[in-house]
């Protein structure tokens, strides 16, 4: 399987997917935390 980081588009798409995943992680953390 080709490494997606070998292409610029693969890198950008991985970054966008990671952003979406971390958005939901942050959302859960904000919801579970005080203040």
């Amino acid at each position: 399987m080709k490494n997606p980081l070998d292409s610029l588009w693969g890198t950008i798409i991985c970054g966008v997917i990671l952003t979406v995943v971390l958005y939901y992680v942050a959302h859960a953390l904000v919801g579970s935390g005080a203040a």
């Binding site: 490494n3 980081l5 970054g15 952003t19 971390l22 942050a26 904000v30 203040a35």
Partner: protein
């Protein structure tokens, strides 16, 4: 006691050095990789590698340090949360500090990447430390992938830097 002016100056320097750092990261990934490949296709080390890359790397790695230090200062002057100062609350992903904390963690990983795999490999590639052709080839691959990892991480990092403190999730 920190002042409004010193916070504003730190924020300004954080953004200026961040542009320097990430701008050069994008230059390396979007421009330099293919440009060097084309310029050195005949096997000779071209002027880009000799004159441009070392200077760009100098501003790149110190821009990363300046960005991190100013960011750490800005977090440390945030109001305390859950009994922790802003810096610890962010890195501890506490409540409302979690989004900027995720950005701070991503930025920290990126700084480590700059001074670790990228710079240590570039020193071999540029001939600043002795290396065999095989070691140089391996260093090229490591530097390339570490740089691509940073480009990937910069996408969520910038999201959380921009939205974290200014826009509720």
């Amino acid at each position: 006691m920190h002042g409004v002016l010193s916070d504003a100056i730190a924020r300004w320097l954080h953004v200026l050095s961040g542009i320097m750092w990430i701008g050069l990261l994008y230059y390396f990934n979007f421009v330099n990789v293919d440009a060097v490949k084309a310029a050195t296709a005949d096997g000779a080390q071209g002027p880009i590698v000799k004159y441009v890359v070392p200077r760009a790397l100098l501003f790149f790695r110190w821009g990363a340090v300046a960005t991190w230090v100013m960011g750490a200062y800005l977090l440390s002057v945030e109001p305390p949360l859950n009994g922790m100062n802003g810096f610890l609350a962010a890195f501890g992903l506490q409540g409302s500090m979690a989004p900027i904390g995720i950005g701070a963690w991503l930025g920290t990983i990126m700084v480590i990447n700059v001074w670790g795999p990228i710079w240590q490999s570039q020193k071999k590639i540029l001939g600043m430390v002795p290396a065999t052709d095989e070691q140089k080839a391996k260093a090229r691959r490591i530097a390339f992938l570490a740089s691509r990892v940073n480009t990937m991480l910069s996408i969520p990092m910038l999201w959380f830097m921009v939205t974290g403190p200014h826009q509720p999730l």
